[in-house]
Protein backbone atom coordinates (compact mmCIF):
# COMPACT_ATOMS: atom_id res chain seq x y z
CA UNK A 1 0.00 0.00 0.00
CA UNK A 2 1.44 3.33 -1.03
CA UNK A 3 1.49 6.41 1.13
CA UNK A 4 -1.09 8.20 -1.00
CA UNK A 5 -3.63 5.43 -0.93
CA UNK A 6 -3.14 4.92 2.80
CA UNK A 7 -3.69 8.62 3.39
CA UNK A 8 -6.73 8.50 1.14
CA UNK A 9 -8.07 5.50 3.04
CA UNK A 10 -7.60 7.19 6.39
CA UNK A 11 -9.25 10.47 5.33
CA UNK A 12 -12.13 8.64 3.67
CA UNK A 13 -12.57 6.53 6.80
CA UNK A 14 -12.49 9.59 9.03
CA UNK A 15 -14.94 11.45 6.83
CA UNK A 16 -17.31 8.48 6.81
CA UNK A 17 -17.06 8.11 10.61
CA UNK A 18 -17.67 11.85 11.06
CA UNK A 19 -20.65 11.66 8.71
CA UNK A 20 -22.23 8.71 10.48
CA UNK A 21 -21.67 10.12 13.98
CA UNK A 22 -22.88 13.53 12.75
CA UNK A 23 -26.11 11.93 11.60
CA UNK A 24 -26.36 10.11 14.93
CA UNK A 25 -25.91 13.37 16.87
CA UNK A 26 -28.45 15.11 14.63
CA UNK A 27 -30.99 12.31 15.20
CA UNK A 28 -30.41 12.46 18.97
CA UNK A 29 -30.78 16.27 19.09
CA UNK A 30 -33.88 16.15 16.88
CA UNK A 31 -35.47 13.62 19.23
CA UNK A 32 -34.48 15.63 22.30
CA UNK A 33 -35.93 18.91 21.01
CA UNK A 34 -39.11 17.31 19.70
CA UNK A 35 -38.33 17.73 15.99
CA UNK A 36 -39.36 14.22 14.94
CA UNK A 37 -43.03 13.71 13.97
CA UNK A 38 -44.87 10.53 15.03
CA UNK A 39 -45.19 9.44 11.38
CA UNK A 40 -41.43 9.60 10.73
CA UNK A 41 -41.23 5.96 9.60
CA UNK A 42 -41.75 4.64 6.08
CA UNK A 43 -40.55 5.85 2.70
CA UNK A 44 -41.81 9.41 3.17
CA UNK A 45 -40.41 9.75 6.70
CA UNK A 46 -37.49 11.86 5.47
CA UNK A 47 -39.74 14.51 3.95
CA UNK A 48 -42.14 14.55 6.91
CA UNK A 49 -39.26 14.92 9.39
CA UNK A 50 -37.50 17.67 7.41
CA UNK A 51 -40.76 19.61 7.13
CA UNK A 52 -41.78 19.25 10.77
CA UNK A 53 -38.28 19.92 12.15
CA UNK A 54 -37.76 23.07 10.09
CA UNK A 55 -41.25 24.34 10.87
CA UNK A 56 -40.62 23.87 14.59
CA UNK A 57 -37.29 25.72 14.34
CA UNK A 58 -38.80 28.56 12.24
CA UNK A 59 -42.41 28.93 13.33
CA UNK A 60 -42.82 27.79 16.95
CA UNK A 61 -44.30 31.12 18.07
CA UNK A 62 -45.39 32.74 14.82
CA UNK A 63 -49.01 33.88 14.46
CA UNK A 64 -51.36 32.75 11.69
CA UNK A 65 -52.37 35.61 9.41
CA UNK A 66 -55.53 37.39 10.53
CA UNK A 67 -57.78 39.27 8.14
CA UNK A 68 -60.14 42.22 8.21
CA UNK A 69 -63.93 41.82 8.51
CA UNK A 70 -64.28 42.90 4.87
CA UNK A 71 -62.27 39.83 3.80
CA UNK A 72 -64.62 37.31 5.43
CA UNK A 73 -66.00 34.95 2.78
CA UNK A 74 -69.64 35.64 1.95
CA UNK A 75 -70.52 31.98 2.27
CA UNK A 76 -68.25 29.79 4.41
CA UNK A 77 -67.94 26.46 2.65
CA UNK A 78 -69.07 23.43 4.65
CA UNK A 79 -67.07 20.47 3.38
CA UNK A 80 -68.61 17.05 2.89
CA UNK A 81 -69.20 15.14 6.13
CA UNK A 82 -70.56 11.69 6.90
CA UNK A 83 -74.22 11.61 7.98
CA UNK A 84 -74.54 12.37 11.69
CA UNK A 85 -74.56 9.28 13.89
CA UNK A 86 -77.28 8.41 16.42
CA UNK A 87 -75.36 9.78 19.40
CA UNK A 88 -74.95 13.14 17.64
CA UNK A 89 -78.65 13.21 16.69
CA UNK A 90 -79.65 12.47 20.30
CA UNK A 91 -77.52 15.38 21.57
CA UNK A 92 -78.77 17.62 18.78
CA UNK A 93 -82.40 16.86 19.80
CA UNK A 94 -81.53 18.16 23.27
CA UNK A 95 -80.05 21.32 21.74
CA UNK A 96 -76.58 20.05 22.73
CA UNK A 97 -77.27 20.71 26.43
CA UNK A 98 -75.76 17.30 27.18
CA UNK A 99 -72.72 17.77 24.88
CA UNK A 100 -69.60 17.19 26.94
CA UNK A 101 -65.94 17.80 26.31
CA UNK A 102 -64.05 15.36 28.52
CA UNK A 103 -60.40 16.05 29.19
CA UNK A 104 -58.15 13.37 30.67
CA UNK A 105 -54.64 11.96 30.47
CA UNK A 106 -51.71 13.88 31.93
CA UNK A 107 -53.81 16.48 33.73
CA UNK A 108 -54.21 17.15 37.46
CA UNK A 109 -58.00 17.49 37.32
CA UNK A 110 -59.71 15.40 34.61
CA UNK A 111 -62.94 17.25 33.81
CA UNK A 112 -66.00 17.10 31.56
CA UNK A 113 -67.09 20.55 30.39
CA UNK A 114 -70.52 21.42 29.04
CA UNK A 115 -70.82 23.89 26.15
CA UNK A 116 -72.25 26.48 28.57
CA UNK A 117 -69.19 26.13 30.79
CA UNK A 118 -66.87 26.54 27.79
CA UNK A 119 -68.81 29.62 26.73
CA UNK A 120 -68.47 31.09 30.22
CA UNK A 121 -64.69 31.20 29.86
CA UNK A 122 -63.07 34.33 28.33
CA UNK A 123 -64.21 34.35 24.72
CA UNK A 124 -61.78 35.16 21.92
CA UNK A 125 -62.26 35.74 18.20
CA UNK A 126 -60.00 35.38 15.19
CA UNK A 127 -60.56 36.05 11.50
CA UNK A 128 -58.48 33.34 9.88
CA UNK A 129 -58.43 31.28 6.72
CA UNK A 130 -59.35 27.61 6.47
CA UNK A 131 -57.15 26.11 3.78
CA UNK A 132 -57.98 22.61 2.59
CA UNK A 133 -55.24 20.27 1.39
CA UNK A 134 -57.24 19.99 -1.88
CA UNK A 135 -56.54 23.65 -2.64
CA UNK A 136 -59.68 25.63 -1.77
CA UNK A 137 -60.00 28.06 1.12
CA UNK A 138 -62.31 30.51 2.88
CA UNK A 139 -62.05 33.12 5.60
CA UNK A 140 -64.37 33.25 8.60
CA UNK A 141 -64.47 34.79 12.04
CA UNK A 142 -64.19 32.12 14.68
CA UNK A 143 -65.35 32.53 18.30
CA UNK A 144 -64.22 30.25 21.07
CA UNK A 145 -61.99 29.71 24.04
CA UNK A 146 -58.23 29.33 23.54
CA UNK A 147 -57.24 25.72 24.18
CA UNK A 148 -54.42 26.84 26.50
CA UNK A 149 -56.98 28.44 28.82
CA UNK A 150 -58.83 25.13 29.22
CA UNK A 151 -55.58 23.20 29.57
CA UNK A 152 -54.51 25.58 32.36
CA UNK A 153 -57.81 24.96 34.16
CA UNK A 154 -57.35 21.18 34.19
CA UNK A 155 -53.65 21.48 35.04
CA UNK A 156 -51.47 20.03 32.30
CA UNK A 157 -48.59 18.06 33.77
CA UNK A 158 -45.04 19.14 32.90
CA UNK A 159 -44.13 16.04 30.90
CA UNK A 160 -47.11 16.48 28.54
CA UNK A 161 -45.97 16.45 24.90
CA UNK A 162 -49.12 16.12 22.81
CA UNK A 163 -52.85 16.72 22.93
CA UNK A 164 -54.94 14.10 21.14
CA UNK A 165 -58.47 15.18 20.24
CA UNK A 166 -61.43 13.09 19.20
CA UNK A 167 -64.62 13.72 17.24
CA UNK A 168 -67.99 12.20 18.12
CA UNK A 169 -67.58 10.52 14.73
CA UNK A 170 -65.78 7.23 15.52
CA UNK A 171 -62.31 6.99 14.00
CA UNK A 172 -62.01 10.75 13.45
CA UNK A 173 -59.24 11.97 15.69
CA UNK A 174 -56.01 13.90 15.51
CA UNK A 175 -53.27 15.23 17.74
CA UNK A 176 -50.89 18.18 17.99
CA UNK A 177 -47.72 18.97 19.86
CA UNK A 178 -47.67 21.39 22.80
CA UNK A 179 -46.34 24.21 20.58
CA UNK A 180 -49.66 24.15 18.73
CA UNK A 181 -51.80 23.17 21.74
CA UNK A 182 -50.56 26.16 23.77
CA UNK A 183 -50.52 28.52 20.78
CA UNK A 184 -52.75 31.57 21.41
CA UNK A 185 -54.70 30.99 18.17
CA UNK A 186 -55.56 27.36 18.81
CA UNK A 187 -59.24 27.53 19.82
CA UNK A 188 -62.06 25.31 20.90
CA UNK A 189 -64.60 27.10 18.68
CA UNK A 190 -68.34 27.25 19.26
CA UNK A 191 -69.24 30.27 17.10
CA UNK A 192 -68.71 31.60 13.61
CA UNK A 193 -69.26 35.02 12.01
CA UNK A 194 -71.17 36.33 15.02
CA UNK A 195 -73.53 33.35 15.40
CA UNK A 196 -73.53 29.73 16.50
CA UNK A 197 -71.07 27.43 14.75
CA UNK A 198 -73.08 25.84 11.87
CA UNK A 199 -73.24 22.04 12.07
CA UNK A 200 -71.68 21.68 8.62
CA UNK A 201 -68.68 23.69 9.82
CA UNK A 202 -68.21 21.52 12.90
CA UNK A 203 -70.86 22.70 15.36
CA UNK A 204 -71.37 22.62 18.20
CA UNK A 205 -67.63 22.35 18.96
CA UNK A 206 -64.69 22.35 16.60
CA UNK A 207 -60.94 22.39 17.19
CA UNK A 208 -59.40 25.26 15.27
CA UNK A 209 -55.67 25.02 14.43
CA UNK A 210 -55.20 27.90 11.98
CA UNK A 211 -51.48 27.33 11.37
CA UNK A 212 -52.23 23.94 9.83
CA UNK A 213 -54.39 22.78 6.93
CA UNK A 214 -58.12 22.33 7.41
CA UNK A 215 -58.04 18.63 8.20
CA UNK A 216 -56.28 19.37 11.52
CA UNK A 217 -59.36 21.38 12.59
CA UNK A 218 -61.41 18.31 13.53
CA UNK A 219 -65.18 18.79 13.83
CA UNK A 220 -67.60 17.75 16.62
CA UNK A 221 -65.01 17.50 19.40
CA UNK A 222 -66.03 15.50 22.51
CA UNK A 223 -62.77 14.31 24.03
CA UNK A 224 -59.20 15.54 24.63
CA UNK A 225 -56.35 13.47 26.04
CA UNK A 226 -53.06 15.00 27.11
CA UNK A 227 -50.23 12.53 26.63
CA UNK A 228 -46.48 12.09 26.36
CA UNK A 229 -46.72 9.20 23.93
CA UNK A 230 -48.79 8.95 20.75
CA UNK A 231 -47.91 5.28 20.27
CA UNK A 232 -50.87 4.39 22.47
CA UNK A 233 -53.43 5.80 20.05
CA UNK A 234 -54.71 4.12 16.91
CA UNK A 235 -51.85 2.70 14.88
CA UNK A 236 -49.36 4.87 16.76
CA UNK A 237 -48.86 7.36 13.92
CA UNK A 238 -50.27 10.36 15.79
CA UNK A 239 -53.67 10.65 14.13
CA UNK A 240 -56.13 9.08 11.75
CA UNK A 241 -54.60 11.07 8.85
CA UNK A 242 -51.32 9.12 8.48
CA UNK A 243 -53.36 5.91 8.62
CA UNK A 244 -55.08 7.20 5.48
CA UNK A 245 -51.80 8.29 3.90
CA UNK A 246 -51.89 11.97 4.94
CA UNK A 247 -49.21 13.78 6.94
CA UNK A 248 -49.60 14.13 10.71
CA UNK A 249 -48.06 17.60 10.63
CA UNK A 250 -50.21 19.66 8.27
CA UNK A 251 -48.51 23.05 8.58
CA UNK A 252 -46.54 21.90 5.49
Amino acid sequence: MTDISRRKLITTGLAAAAGVSGLGVAAHLAQKYGLVPPDHGGIFGLGETLTYASQRLLTRHSMAREFSRSQISERPLANEIAPFNDEYKRLQAGNFADWRLTIDGLVDRPTAFSLDQLKSFPSRSQITEVACEEGWSYIAEWHGVPLHHVLDLVGTQPHARYVAYFSIEPGWWDSMDMADALHPQTFLTYGMNGGELPLGNGGPLRMRVPRQLGYKSVKFITHLTVTDNLKKFGKGLGSASPEGGYAWYAGI
Binding site: F44, G47, E48, F67, E134, W136, R211, A247, G251
Partner: protein
Protein backbone atom coordinates in the same frame (compact mmCIF):
# COMPACT_ATOMS: atom_id res chain seq x y z
CA UNK B 1 -15.34 14.59 -36.37
CA UNK B 2 -11.88 13.32 -37.19
CA UNK B 3 -10.99 16.68 -38.73
CA UNK B 4 -12.07 18.49 -35.64
CA UNK B 5 -10.04 16.08 -33.67
CA UNK B 6 -6.83 16.50 -35.62
CA UNK B 7 -7.10 20.22 -36.31
CA UNK B 8 -8.63 22.11 -33.44
CA UNK B 9 -10.77 25.00 -34.63
CA UNK B 10 -8.91 28.28 -34.54
CA UNK B 11 -10.32 30.83 -32.11
CA UNK B 12 -11.72 33.04 -34.90
CA UNK B 13 -13.85 30.26 -36.30
CA UNK B 14 -15.84 29.98 -33.16
CA UNK B 15 -16.00 33.70 -32.56
CA UNK B 16 -19.44 34.03 -34.17
CA UNK B 17 -20.96 31.46 -31.85
CA UNK B 18 -20.66 31.04 -28.14
CA UNK B 19 -18.87 27.74 -28.61
CA UNK B 20 -15.45 27.65 -27.03
CA UNK B 21 -12.52 26.02 -28.82
CA UNK B 22 -12.46 22.29 -28.48
CA UNK B 23 -9.94 21.00 -26.00
CA UNK B 24 -7.86 18.89 -28.41
CA UNK B 25 -7.03 15.80 -26.44
CA UNK B 26 -8.54 16.40 -23.09
CA UNK B 27 -9.66 13.73 -20.72
CA UNK B 28 -11.69 16.19 -18.68
CA UNK B 29 -15.35 15.22 -18.71
CA UNK B 30 -17.82 17.30 -20.72
CA UNK B 31 -19.96 17.60 -17.58
CA UNK B 32 -18.39 17.35 -14.14
CA UNK B 33 -19.51 14.55 -11.85
CA UNK B 34 -21.42 16.96 -9.62
CA UNK B 35 -23.27 18.51 -12.57
CA UNK B 36 -24.24 15.06 -13.83
CA UNK B 37 -25.37 13.87 -10.38
CA UNK B 38 -27.40 16.98 -9.58
CA UNK B 39 -28.87 16.96 -13.12
CA UNK B 40 -30.31 13.47 -12.76
CA UNK B 41 -31.47 13.91 -9.16
CA UNK B 42 -33.25 17.09 -10.25
CA UNK B 43 -34.75 15.33 -13.27
CA UNK B 44 -36.09 12.51 -11.09
CA UNK B 45 -37.49 14.86 -8.44
CA UNK B 46 -39.06 17.12 -11.06
CA UNK B 47 -40.81 14.17 -12.67
CA UNK B 48 -42.17 13.09 -9.27
CA UNK B 49 -43.29 16.66 -8.52
CA UNK B 50 -45.02 16.90 -11.90
CA UNK B 51 -46.99 13.68 -11.53
CA UNK B 52 -47.96 14.27 -7.88
CA UNK B 53 -48.75 17.91 -8.61
CA UNK B 54 -51.17 16.81 -11.32
CA UNK B 55 -52.75 14.34 -8.88
CA UNK B 56 -53.26 17.11 -6.31
CA UNK B 57 -54.82 19.39 -8.95
CA UNK B 58 -57.31 16.61 -9.77
CA UNK B 59 -58.75 16.96 -6.24
CA UNK B 60 -59.71 20.57 -7.08
CA UNK B 61 -59.26 21.40 -10.79
CA UNK B 62 -60.34 25.02 -10.30
CA UNK B 63 -58.05 28.04 -10.00
CA UNK B 64 -58.73 31.40 -8.38
CA UNK B 65 -57.12 34.78 -7.88
CA UNK B 66 -56.76 36.56 -4.54
CA UNK B 67 -56.81 35.21 -1.02
CA UNK B 68 -59.71 32.76 -1.00
CA UNK B 69 -61.52 30.56 -3.48
CA UNK B 70 -63.79 27.53 -3.34
CA UNK B 71 -66.72 25.95 -5.17
CA UNK B 72 -68.98 28.78 -3.95
CA UNK B 73 -66.84 31.46 -5.58
CA UNK B 74 -66.14 32.26 -9.23
CA UNK B 75 -62.95 30.64 -10.51
CA UNK B 76 -60.38 32.33 -12.70
CA UNK B 77 -60.50 29.19 -14.85
CA UNK B 78 -61.36 25.51 -14.57
CA UNK B 79 -59.59 22.51 -16.04
CA UNK B 80 -62.28 20.41 -17.75
CA UNK B 81 -61.36 17.09 -16.11
CA UNK B 82 -63.19 14.90 -13.59
CA UNK B 83 -62.22 15.43 -9.95
CA UNK B 84 -61.22 13.08 -7.14
CA UNK B 85 -63.68 14.87 -4.84
CA UNK B 86 -67.45 14.67 -5.03
CA UNK B 87 -67.64 18.22 -3.73
CA UNK B 88 -66.38 19.71 -7.00
CA UNK B 89 -69.00 20.21 -9.71
CA UNK B 90 -67.22 19.01 -12.85
CA UNK B 91 -70.10 17.92 -15.07
CA UNK B 92 -68.77 14.36 -15.08
CA UNK B 93 -70.99 11.78 -13.46
CA UNK B 94 -68.21 10.10 -11.52
CA UNK B 95 -65.47 10.80 -8.98
CA UNK B 96 -61.84 9.76 -9.54
CA UNK B 97 -60.00 7.75 -6.86
CA UNK B 98 -58.35 9.88 -4.16
CA UNK B 99 -54.56 9.85 -4.65
CA UNK B 100 -53.74 12.90 -2.55
CA UNK B 101 -52.20 11.11 0.46
CA UNK B 102 -49.13 9.60 -1.19
CA UNK B 103 -49.07 12.35 -3.82
CA UNK B 104 -48.63 15.06 -1.19
CA UNK B 105 -46.04 13.04 0.73
CA UNK B 106 -44.00 12.37 -2.43
CA UNK B 107 -44.48 15.97 -3.62
CA UNK B 108 -42.95 17.45 -0.48
CA UNK B 109 -40.23 14.83 -0.14
CA UNK B 110 -39.18 15.39 -3.77
CA UNK B 111 -39.31 19.15 -3.19
CA UNK B 112 -36.95 18.79 -0.22
CA UNK B 113 -34.48 16.67 -2.20
CA UNK B 114 -34.70 19.02 -5.19
CA UNK B 115 -34.13 22.14 -3.07
CA UNK B 116 -31.14 20.62 -1.26
CA UNK B 117 -29.70 19.34 -4.56
CA UNK B 118 -30.28 22.74 -6.14
CA UNK B 119 -28.49 24.47 -3.27
CA UNK B 120 -25.52 22.13 -3.64
CA UNK B 121 -25.45 22.81 -7.40
CA UNK B 122 -25.64 26.59 -7.02
CA UNK B 123 -22.91 26.67 -4.36
CA UNK B 124 -20.74 24.43 -6.55
CA UNK B 125 -21.50 26.57 -9.60
CA UNK B 126 -20.46 29.74 -7.81
CA UNK B 127 -17.27 28.28 -6.32
CA UNK B 128 -16.05 26.63 -9.54
CA UNK B 129 -17.29 29.52 -11.73
CA UNK B 130 -19.43 26.97 -13.61
CA UNK B 131 -22.13 29.61 -14.24
CA UNK B 132 -19.58 32.19 -15.35
CA UNK B 133 -17.76 29.83 -17.73
CA UNK B 134 -20.62 27.76 -19.11
CA UNK B 135 -23.90 29.66 -18.72
CA UNK B 136 -23.32 33.42 -18.77
CA UNK B 137 -23.29 34.36 -22.50
CA UNK B 138 -19.79 34.07 -23.95
CA UNK B 139 -17.98 37.32 -24.78
CA UNK B 140 -18.68 37.28 -28.56
CA UNK B 141 -22.41 36.87 -27.86
CA UNK B 142 -22.59 39.89 -25.61
CA UNK B 143 -22.50 42.23 -28.63
CA UNK B 144 -25.63 42.73 -30.73
CA UNK B 145 -23.94 41.23 -33.83
CA UNK B 146 -22.85 38.11 -32.01
CA UNK B 147 -26.23 37.80 -30.36
CA UNK B 148 -28.22 37.98 -33.61
CA UNK B 149 -25.84 35.62 -35.44
CA UNK B 150 -26.19 33.08 -32.68
CA UNK B 151 -29.97 33.34 -32.60
CA UNK B 152 -30.12 33.11 -36.41
CA UNK B 153 -28.02 29.93 -36.44
CA UNK B 154 -30.36 28.51 -33.88
CA UNK B 155 -33.54 29.44 -35.72
CA UNK B 156 -32.17 27.91 -38.92
CA UNK B 157 -31.76 24.64 -37.00
CA UNK B 158 -28.09 24.46 -38.00
CA UNK B 159 -26.79 21.15 -36.85
CA UNK B 160 -24.41 21.78 -33.99
CA UNK B 161 -20.80 21.02 -34.75
CA UNK B 162 -18.24 19.32 -32.57
CA UNK B 163 -17.50 22.65 -30.92
CA UNK B 164 -21.03 22.77 -29.57
CA UNK B 165 -20.70 19.38 -27.99
CA UNK B 166 -18.27 21.21 -25.76
CA UNK B 167 -20.27 24.22 -24.81
CA UNK B 168 -23.71 25.77 -24.85
CA UNK B 169 -24.96 28.19 -27.49
CA UNK B 170 -26.61 31.46 -26.59
CA UNK B 171 -30.33 30.54 -26.48
CA UNK B 172 -29.34 27.48 -24.46
CA UNK B 173 -27.36 29.57 -21.97
CA UNK B 174 -30.15 32.10 -21.54
CA UNK B 175 -32.76 29.36 -21.15
CA UNK B 176 -30.75 27.47 -18.54
CA UNK B 177 -30.08 30.68 -16.60
CA UNK B 178 -33.79 31.54 -16.75
CA UNK B 179 -34.81 28.08 -15.52
CA UNK B 180 -32.18 27.93 -12.76
CA UNK B 181 -32.39 31.47 -11.43
CA UNK B 182 -35.97 32.54 -12.26
CA UNK B 183 -38.34 29.59 -12.69
CA UNK B 184 -37.03 27.30 -9.94
CA UNK B 185 -36.87 30.06 -7.28
CA UNK B 186 -40.38 31.16 -8.30
CA UNK B 187 -41.84 27.67 -8.12
CA UNK B 188 -40.29 27.18 -4.67
CA UNK B 189 -41.53 30.56 -3.47
CA UNK B 190 -45.11 30.05 -4.69
CA UNK B 191 -45.07 26.56 -3.17
CA UNK B 192 -43.94 27.82 0.23
CA UNK B 193 -46.56 30.59 0.03
CA UNK B 194 -49.22 27.87 0.26
CA UNK B 195 -47.90 26.60 3.61
CA UNK B 196 -50.07 28.03 6.40
CA UNK B 197 -47.28 27.64 8.97
CA UNK B 198 -44.52 29.10 6.76
CA UNK B 199 -46.57 32.19 5.92
CA UNK B 200 -47.40 32.67 9.61
CA UNK B 201 -43.70 33.40 10.10
CA UNK B 202 -43.17 35.16 6.74
CA UNK B 203 -46.54 36.68 5.76
CA UNK B 204 -45.14 38.89 3.00
CA UNK B 205 -44.21 35.76 1.01
CA UNK B 206 -47.92 35.31 0.28
CA UNK B 207 -49.25 38.89 0.42
CA UNK B 208 -46.70 39.97 -2.23
CA UNK B 209 -48.21 37.39 -4.58
CA UNK B 210 -51.73 38.67 -4.01
CA UNK B 211 -52.95 35.97 -1.62
CA UNK B 212 -53.08 32.25 -1.11
CA UNK B 213 -55.13 31.42 -4.20
CA UNK B 214 -52.96 33.65 -6.40
CA UNK B 215 -49.92 31.76 -5.09
CA UNK B 216 -51.58 28.45 -6.04
CA UNK B 217 -52.47 29.70 -9.53
CA UNK B 218 -48.96 31.08 -10.09
CA UNK B 219 -47.46 27.80 -8.82
CA UNK B 220 -49.53 26.02 -11.48
CA UNK B 221 -48.42 28.33 -14.33
CA UNK B 222 -44.74 28.23 -13.35
CA UNK B 223 -44.96 24.43 -13.27
CA UNK B 224 -46.42 24.53 -16.80
CA UNK B 225 -43.48 26.74 -17.87
CA UNK B 226 -41.06 24.21 -16.37
CA UNK B 227 -42.90 21.39 -18.14
CA UNK B 228 -42.57 23.27 -21.46
CA UNK B 229 -38.86 23.68 -20.79
CA UNK B 230 -38.56 19.94 -20.13
CA UNK B 231 -40.32 19.09 -23.40
CA UNK B 232 -38.19 21.50 -25.48
CA UNK B 233 -35.05 20.34 -23.66
CA UNK B 234 -35.71 16.68 -24.47
CA UNK B 235 -36.63 17.48 -28.10
CA UNK B 236 -33.40 19.50 -28.49
CA UNK B 237 -31.33 16.71 -26.99
CA UNK B 238 -32.97 14.35 -29.48
CA UNK B 239 -32.27 16.68 -32.45
CA UNK B 240 -28.67 17.30 -31.41
CA UNK B 241 -27.91 13.60 -31.17
CA UNK B 242 -29.69 11.74 -28.41
CA UNK B 243 -27.17 9.03 -27.56
CA UNK B 244 -24.14 11.35 -27.63
CA UNK B 245 -25.81 13.96 -25.42
CA UNK B 246 -27.15 11.33 -23.04
CA UNK B 247 -23.73 9.71 -22.87
CA UNK B 248 -22.18 13.07 -22.04
CA UNK B 249 -24.64 13.67 -19.22
CA UNK B 250 -24.37 10.14 -17.82
CA UNK B 251 -20.68 9.21 -18.24
CA UNK B 252 -19.27 12.69 -18.83
CA UNK B 253 -17.59 11.62 -22.10
CA UNK B 254 -18.17 13.29 -25.47
CA UNK B 255 -18.24 11.31 -28.70
CA UNK B 256 -14.77 12.53 -29.66
CA UNK B 257 -13.36 11.39 -26.37
CA UNK B 258 -14.95 8.00 -26.86
CA UNK B 259 -13.42 7.65 -30.31
CA UNK B 260 -10.03 8.49 -28.91
CA UNK B 261 -10.26 5.81 -26.25
Amino acid sequence: MSTAESTPLPLEASATTSASPIPAATTAPRHSLLVRLTHWITALCFLALLITGAEIVISHPRFYWGETGNILTTPLFKIPIPSSRGLVPTGYGYVMPDQNGWSRALHFQSAWILVLTGLLYVIYGLITRHFHTNLVPAKPDRSWRGFSASVKNHLLFKKPGEAEAWSYNLPQRLTYLFVIFILFPLVIWTGLAMSPAFVSAFPSTVTLLGGRQSARTLHFFISIALLLFLIVHVVMVYLAGFSARMRAMITGCTAAQRERI
